[in-house]
């Protein structure tokens, strides 16, 4: 999520937690904040259709650039940030008025297809002296074709975001009814990379509903190079925690059910710009909790690799998996349990 959707403390906590584990965090829409750059060892700069806060100096300060074509929660939709979250600082970074709803474009203004995007990528490489890897992030819509086109455009990394991925705000009908689940999308994307002989050459990062080390291990076994984590990282910072119950009630919800990021009244101080609420998240404490969560994921991933006889997590493979349901077997193209043993 962007700075604007998240508060500065949340951004700093994400940077601290990720850095402590030697991994990266991402700016989201709305530009780069000094808190986030300062606390993040590796920071990926997102380039979105809105171009909010975009400038070449920040591109050069980033460790990688992610061109956001779409988001799993709303593939085909643009950004949305409601007026109640747009304080003076957020408005200033976006050069838009305070307190007014912002709806940004769903299409990039300066390219319309992979041929144009290839030129855009060349521009970004030139601006950053050919030093920064370029990611392309797509929402899971038609992942086989989208991955193929991202590779054609010259991406170093494809980020595939499945429909379980979160957002700061969009129409409920978009979240629930557009896009395809991560499980099926991942398989299609891996197929595209393999057909192009680019699997493990162009990296594939998968996101959308990653919660545990088991999810990470299964994604890697199916062919992902890495995963990225959004909602679960927010939950490590106390999103939906059983605290400040009365404030959840004021929003008409309860801990465990809250999806009120759009209101700016986040009871736990994560998705808010309200200075009083924001104090509920200490960035140092939050960073420690995120680090602990990521450590746990890593240990779980290693445990599962060893249990499957693998000395490296990257050696996990689809043959290590079985599906429990017909639907999952069809989507992931992993054999159903009853078929195991009958294979040649």
């Amino acid at each position: 999520m962007s700075f604007g959707a998240l508060g500065a403390n949340a951004k700093e906590a994400l940077g601290r937690g990720a850095s402590a584990m030697g991994t990266s965090t991402t700016t989201g829409d709305g530009g780069m904040t000094k808190e986030e750059r300062g606390s993040s060892k590796y920071l990926v700069y997102q380039l979105l259709p809105s171009r909010y806060g975009m400038n070449p100096d920040d591109l050069r300060k980033a460790d990688a650039i992610e061109i956001v074509v779409g988001q799993g929660a709303k593939p085909g939709g643009g950004g949305m940030l409601l007026g109640q979250k747009i304080n003076k600082r957020v408005a200033g970074m976006r050069t838009l008025p305070e307190g007014i709803d912002q709806r940004s474009a769903c299409r990039h203004p300066d390219w319309t297809g992979p041929d144009d995007l290839e030129i855009k990528i060349q521009e970004l490489r030139e601006i950053t002296n050919w030093e920064k890897p370029i990611y392309i992030k797509v929402g899971a819509a038609r992942p086989y074709y989208d991955t193929t086109l991202a590779v054609k455009a010259g991406a170093d990394v494809v980020v595939l975001d499945g429909m379980q991925g979160g957002t700061a705000a969009t129409q409920d009908v978009f979240i629930e009814h557009v896009g395809i689940p991560t499980l099926g999308a991942l398989r299609e994307s891996v197929d595209a990379l393999k057909e192009l002989n680019m699997h493990r050459k162009v990296q594939l990062i998968v996101s959308g509903g990653i919660r545990t080390g088991a999810d990470v291990a299964k994604a890697i076994a199916m062919g992902a190079d890495a995963v990225s984590i959004g909602s679960a990282a927010m939950m490590a910072l106390n999103c939906n925690a059983d605290l400040y119950r009365k404030d959840y009630e004021k929003l008409g919800t309860e801990p465990g059910y809250c999806h009120h990021c759009h209101t700016g009244k986040c009871p736990v101080g994560v998705a808010t710009q309200d200075p009083i609420l924001e104090k509920r998240l200490n960035p140092i404490e939050g960073g420690k909790r995120l680090k602990n969560y990521l450590s746990t994921l890593t240990l779980e991933l290693q445990t599962l690799a060893r249990a499957n006889g693998k000395s490296d997590v990257r050696n996990l493979e689809p043959e290590d998996l079985a599906a429990l349901t017909v639907e999952a077997a069809a989507m992931a193209r992993v054999p159903l349990l009853e078929q195991i043993g009958y294979q040649d």
Partner: protein, 67 residues
């Protein structure tokens, strides 16, 4: 829900509530985070693990043996 009452499968109470909210407000609902519906996911897969046909690796012991 009362035991002897039968809910509409097509119109569960959450759907009725949403129809009535839309009828009142005349605009779609905006919200954050991700999908709440159930879709096939990684929980529908399991690892086979190892036993005889494939051996598991030790943790500390394996490191000692490898070194």
């Amino acid at each position: 829900m009362k035991k002897d009452l039968k809910e509409f499968k097509t119109f569960p109470s959450s759907t009725i509530k949403e129809i009535q909210r839309a009828a009142k407000e005349g605009i779609y609902q905006i919200r954050g985070l991700g999908a709440k519906r159930k879709v096939p996911d990684f929980d529908d897969l399991v690892f086979l693990g190892a036993s005889m046909s494939r051996y598991p690796l030790e943790t500390v012991l394996q490191k000692i043996l490898l070194n």
